[in-house]
Symmetry: C2
Amino acid sequence: MNEVPYVHGYSAREADRLADQAHTLGELLHHDTVFPPGSLVLECGCGTGAQTVLLAARNPGARIVAVDVSAASLEQARARISAAGHRNVEFQTANLFDLPFGEGHFDHVFLCFLLEHVAEPAAALRAVQRVLRRGQTITVIEGDHGSWYCHPRTLESSRAVQCLVEVQARFGGDALIGRRLYPLLTEAGFRDVRVSPRMVYVDDSRPDLVEGFSKNTFIAMVEGVRDRALSLGMIDQCTWEKGIADLYRATEPGGTFCYTFFKGTASK
Amino acid sequence: MNEVPYVHGYSAREADRLADQAHTLGELLHHDTVFPPGSLVLECGCGTGAQTVLLAARNPGARIVAVDVSAASLEQARARISAAGHRNVEFQTANLFDLPFGEGHFDHVFLCFLLEHVAEPAAALRAVQRVLRRGQTITVIEGDHGSWYCHPRTLESSRAVQCLVEVQARFGGDALIGRRLYPLLTEAGFRDVRVSPRMVYVDDSRPDLVEGFSKNTFIAMVEGVRDRALSLGMIDQCTWEKGIADLYRATEPGGTFCYTFFKGTASK
């Protein structure tokens, strides 16, 4: 029941990708992530703080405690929050399954792009439920790589994306978890579960999304599993290279790109 | 360059399916299908009038001319419009590629679930462009069966849905056309092309969509190609039956269902 190795790695390009993603998608994912002033909010699995900085900016009156299992990521998160001038965030190293907080300690719990990496997401939800005050809310945001499609489409581009799904599965995660948020939250015993899809649709008329989402978020994420996918024999190099080239082709004029995130809220 | 046989058939269940679909999805697809009073609007490929009745209700000040290649469908469309009490619609039998109207005759052109059935959608768009007045707008709505996914997911349910895509391709259509609307409208020479996705997300908390969309629209549509898929050898009966059962499984508690329509508008 420990967290699994982080599939996306910890490289500099990966940090850039997460920053691009956070910027481009901030409005889509977080426009309604608003906590009342005075709230004590736990962000679980904050990583390098890409979402934390958005939460902090949008909720200046809330106190945010951001935890992650990686001390190195927290170091970057601290620097990011400090550079942005926010003073309402504390960071702490902690394992999701052994949170160093008492029962009902927090007014809100926030998880973003965390459950996809966890072998037992239902257990993770129960673990964070413990530290949430009764009657208060949890917010969970996840992607779903099975929601991706593009034009023009080719078998090779689908195979390359499928490698990302399969590598994540080998690490014990589930890249198709977005569609499961509703049953997961329900099974964990939360009430008033509401899940809303947040779809990203990209065509020529949206050059910011071509760069910020299609290339620097999604394709960068696929490219990030190249070595593992090849060394695990999931795909041959020729198919991989055509697949990646085809993904870039769908970011050129006349191409389109689709992906959907899911945001769930529920009460304890 | 003729229209191809209608993949969904003309059965009574099919007529019910289209009516359910129109009712459930009306708001999602048409809340912004609003034409100025006095407009002369062409609906191309109105079929049995499932969309026409929504257009007429939402635009009482517009005059709608609804055409279809099938006289039998127009008969049903007339009855539906008459039963709903709308008096702002005229029906006319016509072939999309040989419209009996002069250049620039209409203030707006509306196409819904038509291009997916047409072998040459770009040529269809140019054909309707001719009868649209310069500076005025076209509205095109299409689904994209490649946007479908569900939970729990199985290979067999994906195979059954894939049969629908393949049968439609055999008929000369493209069930994955939603993602192509932007390039198609652009290539046909329209200006100010804007495409927006309209995603349907279904879980237990939305029983109207479980019935009205997942079962009576989407699964009904897949079931509609059963005989053709089996007789064409696309799938064996055992896989088909498990696939359909699995689709229904995803409409039960704990299941989720996703699908995306695309709506494009553009100017001549």
